[in-house]
């Protein structure tokens, strides 16, 4: 009897289609977001994350409409991230049916925004998304920094200190992506995941690098993640959600069936 570790399929959506690229290039089409979300809801996903990676204004407007359609079809929590910059954006997404919103670069640009958002809407719906990259050299103690713009722009901000600060500002959850691992299928950055998870009092979702089911197990057991997020292994039917849960349960992890 314990809280279950969550499995969260992630939909990276560009202009109304689910896509998945390796390190954001070589983008493959993985279907209509509403259909994909419905399938995961039926398969037993614990939550769904929708990340809007559209660069255009039209793409963003499509997103609100898609979130509305998804929210009508699924009966599990839905987190929406990507392009959330103002409390107005948050209100729009919550009204469209999102349960939580992910804030990333807007937090880096203006940390007080997270405080304002948590005060206004409650910490339970504010997820701070952190894109981190290892900056320590071979032989040095591990150190990670926050990067923006899809991992291209360094900020000089220490990842652990940042996570702690965001929680103190009211983040209710941390979505942690290793930019070194994202799209590689080599597994989560476990040292990073563990360092963050043990530093903060709120749940941490591990993201970036899942290529097989052992990676999910390691994320929980070694990375101490409260939830694991994956995209391509589920989108391209390499593994199903029930298969992933059965595999984790066999290895002693509490999951929901």
């Amino acid at each position: 009897m314990a809280l279950a570790k969550r499995i969260i399929p992630c939909l990276d959506v560009d202009n109304g289609r689910v896509v998945k690229g390796v390190q954001f290039v070589d983008i493959k089409d993985a279907g209509n977001p509403v259909e994909v979300a419905k399938r995961y809801n039926e398969e037993g996903a614990d939550e769904i994350t929708f990340l809007d990676i559209s660069a255009t204004h039209e793409g963003r407007n499509t997103t609100i409409h898609m979130v509305e359609q998804i929210a009508d079809e699924i009966f599990i929590p839905l987190t929406v991230g990507g392009g959330i910059r103002t409390t107005y954006d948050i209100r729009n997404m919550l009204n469209a049916g999102a349960d939580k919103v992910g804030i990333n670069s807007a937090a880096v640009k203006e940390p007080e925004f997270v405080k304002a958002a948590a005060d206004r809407f409650g910490s339970q719906c504010i997820v701070v998304a952190i894109d981190a990259k290892k900056v320590s050299q071979e032989g040095e103690a591990d150190r990670w920094e926050i990067f923006t713009h899809g991992g291209r722009q360094p900020t000089g901000i220490d990842a652990i200190g940042w996570a702690e600060k965001m929680v103190s500002y009211g983040a209710g959850e941390i979505l942690l992506t290793s930019m070194d691992r994202d799209g590689t299928k080599n597994g989560f950055d476990l040292a990073l995941t563990r360092a963050i998870s043990e530093s903060v009092s709120v749940p941490v979702i591990a993201s970036g690098g899942v290529g097989n089911l052992d990676h999910l197990v390691n994320g929980v057991k070694q990375g101490k993640a409260d939830a694991v997020l994956a995209a391509s292994i589920f989108h391209f039917a390499e593994y199903s959600i029930p298969q992933a849960k059965a595999y984790m349960a066999e290895r002693g992890i509490e999951v929901r069936f």
């Binding site: 809280l3 614990d46 599990i76 959850e173 409260d226």
Partner: protein
Amino acid sequence: MSKQHIAIIDYGMGNLHSVASAINHVADDAHVTISCTKEDIINADRVILPGVGAIRDCMQSIIDNGIPELVDTVIQQKQPLLGICVGMQVLLSHSEENNGVDCLNHFQGKVKRFPKDATDNDEPIKVPHMGWNHVQKCQEHPLWDGIASDTRFYFVHSYYADVLETHCIGESHYGVPFAAMLAKENLAAVQFHPEKSHVAGLRLLRNFANWRV
């Protein structure tokens, strides 16, 4: 067959469409209204009291919108009422959140913060309690119809209800045992989000729509 009216009380705290959408999905005979007008609420066949966010803001909006009197009327008229999440917590006597806030006192008990040093499955607990946890049946109740004891529901909260055992029909455990489902006469309340709890949550909402007090 005439439709039954289910009113979801809207006092300005959060999006209520997911609750409405879940009920529409399970109760074909239901006409769902999201409203804070006296007429809609006291004439409804059933009433849902939702709630998210901080308790002080919730209670303030409840008071500003005249909801305490409406809830009293709903109770007197024996209309089934379901509180969800913070909508359950406001039915208790008092909450520790925001340096202490007096609530509606329909269930005697207190809302307390999850303790910092508690553990779940041998690991320190993270707060908010976020995710799918077991709910153990403590008493038979129509809301449990067709749902097995120890079914998992979706929770997201940092404060929990500590109430008299007599009213607890479902208990959960996260560092400490806490009330996940309460019931007394025509009142019921759940700490989790049935509208986000997939098959089990939908079943519970259907049970609420069918509940004969």
